[in-house]
């Protein structure tokens, strides 16, 4: 090891550190280390004069390595490394000794805290003198973005990226884009018609020269790394040529097959050849191969016969499409918690217990009832309607989290119901009202005061039928009263869960999901749309329950991150990655098995690391039985020296 000349800079952080740690003593003790040629302390190292102090010392004392004893490296590592590199020191020859979060903030006895800080600094000195100077790895970028999911999040992200001048591949698994938002009636708190604000964006997607839309498609494989992903998309057959179909609707009239319409959540019926809703994009019919009598003109060819455009093709085949993209935005949306899991509310048993999306369809002017509120069992107008919030949400037996949007849409449901049935009575059963958002609280107040909706604070224990009458059994926790409320219709505000494909997709993309299956962001506050895999961004309800305005904001955030990435000519990859000592490696394959990024392959009995895929997590280094894999600048010899420094003084 060449003789290192280390400078140690101890930050007071105002009183944050200096209040508990004798910073002068830390600097003094550090200067006793044989490799240290300069040590000092300063009030705020991260300030301009603080940084200048470091830079001047590097020049004056010809420092080869720097230790800044300050706050957590996630706060200012970059600041100090940048300062060092400005005067010619290698980025990786500057290390942070965290004496704030890991010392001063968690201790109160000055003597002991000072002793600990000294040891932390010594340990960091041992590391930095063994650090190799490294240079970032550079790679080119494919200037194209893949957006997975064609709901409002995916639409917004796709439009933003395409408007910025980049090619976009938008993949949607259903026959149309639009997602959940297309199913909604009005949106809170402004009561804009959801379709009216959504369909222009859908059309914009369809017409955008830089957006390539694949519907009835799913991503089946992703390989590669940031800037250079290779994506495989399975495009299922539609059996209708979208360029030829002019949505005249003749095929639908003659189709003899009737199945429940999923777009109306089973409240209406559709044919085997259908269009989910008139404004669907692409504007074309689809044949549901499972419902169709056999895609065989010998059995039934009614639709083919009436189609003037000759748009229908029973021989349409599945295609596998390969694309290369630089960034991926995941926006796979949400689903409702399965109602079957809460049998005490009688869904499936009583026709007049429906979920909130079904009620949206009842409210919608394009819905199965053209916007009249009738109940499914007998088509009568319900005069008493119970809206039950937190069904599955905030419940230790189901979903522990808050689904966030139910308070607001239940209020909206009650308000819209009162618009349509002015003499009806709406009850809302709630636990707490969470109306944090611009104009949200005011909206709730209006529903309560102007519309006379009765809010009952308490969980519903049971919904049952007595003499043909639905009864909601609950307790009013404000009065302590047991309630049995007879109603005509019950609307369950089901909790929000990730869409069923999210988990499979997470595995393909190698991005983590949280306990509930929502995509995990890197940092909830500071990096809310980035996944741990660089180049893959998440947004919308797939990341966690959220309403439309938040979804759109997050989609734009994800898009801007993708744009920032695609705008670069080259990307720099952190060089703190795994390195294989081929003399030791026997190719046992453990590293390959556990690498979460698919960055290691055993070739000819020796592991090879793909430098760009490797994110430097160190899992392989920990797992390698013979120590053949070392993480650069976190090598075993460094860590052992660090431990020795901490333990001996």
């Amino acid at each position: 090891m060449p003789k290192e000349r280390v400078g140690v800079f101890v930050c007071h952080c105002g009183r944050n550190i200096a209040g508990t740690v004798d910073v002068k003593k830390v600097a003094e003790e550090a200067s006793k280390h044989p490799a240290v040629v300069f040590a000092t302390d300063y009030k705020y190292m991260c300030s301009d004069p603080g940084q200048k102090l470091i830079k001047d010392a590097i020049r004056e004392y010809k420092l080869t390595a720097v230790v800044v004893a300050a706050c957590t490296p996630s706060m200012h590592e970059e600041t100090f490394r940048k300062a060092c590199s400005e005067v010619g020191l290698n980025w990786y020859k500057c290390e942070i000794a965290n004496i704030r979060e890991q010392c001063s903030w968690v201790h109160s006895e000055i003597d002991k805290a000072t002793e600990k800080a000294i040891r932390i600094v010594n340990s960091t000195i041992e590391k930095v003198i063994r650090n190799e100077p490294l240079t970032p790895i550079t790679v080119g970028i494919k200037k194209k973005c893949l957006v997975i999911g064609g709901g409002i999040a995916g639409i917004q992200a796709a439009l933003d990226v395409a408007d910025a001048g980049f090619e976009v591949i938008l993949v949607e698994k259903s026959p149309t884009i639009g997602g959940r938002m297309a199913q909604l009636s009005e949106t809170f708190p402004t009561l804009d018609c959801a379709q009216c604000i959504l369909t222009p964006k859908m059309v914009a997607v369809a017409r955008h020269p830089r957006i390539k839309l694949y519907t009835l498609s799913e991503v089946i494989d992703v390989e590669g790394f940031v800037g250079n992903f290779r994506v495989k998309i399975r495009k299922k057959p539609r059996y209708v040529d979208i360029d030829k179909c002019n949505i005249c609707g003749e095929c639908e009239k003659v189709c003899p097959v009737i199945v429940p319409n999923e777009f109306d959540r089973g409240l209406s019926y559709r044919k085997a050849i259908y269009i989910p809703f008139p404004q669907a994009v692409p504007a074309a019919y689809t044949i549901d191969p499972e419902a169709c009598l056999g895609l065989n003109p010998v059995i039934c060819g009614e639709c083919i016969e009436v189609c003037d455009q000759q748009a229908i093709n029973y021989d349409d085949k599945e295609e596998i499409i390969e694309e290369e993209v630089g960034a991926i935005i995941v926006a796979t949306g949400y689903n409702l918690y399965p109602k079957e899991k809460i049998p005490e509310y009688g869904y499936g048993k009583y026709e007049d217990v429906i979920d909130s999306l079904q009620f949206e369809r009842l409210l919608s002017s394009t819905g199965p009832t053209r916007g009249t509120i009738v109940r499914p069992s007998d088509g009568k107008v319900p005069k008493r309607v119970a809206f039950i919030q937190c069904v599955g949400s905030r419940d230790v037996n189901h979903l522990e989290y808050c689904s966030k949007i139910c308070c607001m849409y239940s209020a909206k449901h009650a308000m819209m119901y009162k618009h349509l049935v002015p003499d009806g009575q709406a009850y809302i059963f709630y636990i707490d009202i969470r109306a944090a958002g611009k104009g949200y609280e005011e909206f709730i107040k209006r529903v309560q005061e102007e519309y006379g909706v009765i809010y009952i604070r308490g969980r519903v224990s049971k919904i049952y039928k007595e003499n043909g009458q639905l009864i909601v059994q609950a307790v009013d926790t404000l009065t302590g009263e047991q309630l049995e409320v007879p109603v005509d219709l019950v609307v369950l505000a089901m909790g929000i869960v990730p869409s069923p494909d999210a988990k499979r997709l997470a595995e393909i993309l190698k991005i983590p999901v949280d306990k509930w299956g929502f995509y995990q962001e890197v940092h909830p506050k500071l990096r809310p749309v980035e996944s741990v895999v660089s180049g893959i961004f998440v947004c919308g309800a797939a990341q966690g329950p959220k309403d439309i305005s938040e979804t759109v904001a997050q989609a734009s955030a994800a898009a801007s991150k993708a744009i920032a990435l695609l705008s670069k000519d080259m990307i720099y990859h952190e060089p703190i990655i795994a390195r294989v000592n081929t003399d030791l490696c026997s190719g046992c394959g453990v590293c390959e098995s556990i690498c979460p990024y698919g960055a290691i392959k055993v070739i000819n009995k020796v592991a090879e690391v793909n430098e760009v895929l490797c994110e430097g997590c160190g899992a392989c280094a920990a797992a390698c039985p013979v120590g053949a894999i070392q993480l650069r600048n976190f090598r075993d010899d460094q860590i052992i020296s660090m431990i020795q420094a901490v333990l001996t003084r």
């Binding site: 490696c585 394959g589 009995k605």
Partner: protein, 331 residues
């Protein structure tokens, strides 16, 4: 001629005798060797006493077989080091403490009590245990005392060459023989700290197929159901020490459809074999579902491992970072 011969001693520690026998694998070459080598001390073959070792004026190559378990072994090792130009740890016991190392799971006193007093078939009314002075007919025949712990040779003296194996197999013996002959002919000293075979690990020569991902969902032992004789043992949930055992055996157990128990010991520079391999094994447990499973569920899988010390440290416990019963930890 005899003045040019090099002097060799073969000193036994705690050993089963297998290592001595393994030297017989040299066959006729043992006779050839006598042209170059004088074996001046080998108690297994002829009657020698420690005094004889003390009386030797010098030794060129001192081979030590077995671990240090008696105070006498330690004494012999120290004499050997003093007299020999080169000291060789021959066999896994000398290199790592060997299977006797598992005795370090009990204290010396516990071991002696168990063996000499507490086994059901023992009758020892005078409670005589080794270590006590014994005089018969006026002659002091006090048996040797056990050392406090079982130790590998390099805990007592510096070792210049290691020959791994329990016992070392033919290839290693041939290699060692060449080293001896070359020294005898040219007096060329060999690289200190050299290891024979000192190869990569068994995976390097393992004929078994590896799946794309080795995932352990459940630990199995060899008697539990059929074993696929072509698939990597780890991928079948069977603990095989191949990934951390040097390939000096030609994968003979593995070829017989038995997982490696690790008798040759780890490659050079492994600080703690069991610690390292436990980290490896833990990394492979339920890789795919790790995030879904609770700590308790993961713990339950890991707890299926029967006798972890005996599994991961069967031959090397004495040379581990934690290498003996930790009284304090127990309290």
């Amino acid at each position: 001629m005899s003045t040019n011969k090099i002097k060799i001693t073969i000193v036994p520690g705690a050993a089963c005798g297998g290592c001595d026998v393994s030297l017989a694998n040299l066959g006729e070459r043992l006779l050839e060797a006598t042209e170059l080598v004088d074996i001046v001390f080998w108690p297994t073959v002829a009657d020698f006493k420690l005094e004889d070792l003390k009386n030797l004026d010098h030794i060129d190559i001192g081979i030590f077989i077995g671990s240090i378990r008696l105070e006498k072994h330690a004494e012999a090792a120290k004499i050997l080091r003093e007299k020999a130009k080169f000291v060789v740890a021959y066999g896994t016991c000398a290199c790592y403490g060997g299977i006797f190392g598992l005795g370090n799971l009990s204290t010396r006193e516990e071991l002696l009590k168990k063996v000499y007093l507490n086994t059901p078939t023992t009758e020892n009314p005078e409670e005589k245990i080794p270590g006590q002075k014994v005089v018969i007919n006026g002659v002091d025949v006090t048996p040797p005392r056990l050392t406090e712990w079982n130790l590998p040779l390099n805990n007592i003296v510096t070792v210049d060459l290691y020959v791994q194996g329990c016992p070392p197999i033919e290839d290693s013996i041939n290699h060692f023989y060449e080293v001896l002959v070359s020294y005898a002919k040219n007096r060329k000293p060999f690289e200190k700290g050299m290891m024979i075979p000192g190869a990569k690990t068994l995976c390097d020569i393992c004929p078994r197929k590896k799946p794309e991902k080795i995932v352990i969902e459940k630990f199995r032992r060899v008697h539990e159901g059929p074993i696929d004789d072509e698939l990597c043992f780890l991928a079948q949930g069977i603990i095989c020490l191949g990934p951390i055992t040097v390939a000096g055996c030609g994968a003979s157990c593995i070829k017989a459809n038995m997982p490696c128990r690790g008798c040759l010991g780890p490659p050079a520079d492994i600080i703690d074999r069991a610690g390292k391999f436990i980290s490896t094994i833990a990394s492979l447990v339920e890789i795919e579902r790790e995030k879904e499973l609770s700590d308790e569920e993961l713990m339950r899988i890991v707890q299926e491992i029967v006798d972890p010390v005996g599994t991961f440290h069967r031959f090397t416990f004495s040379s581990g970072v934690i290498n003996k019963k930790q009284e304090d930890a127990k309290k």
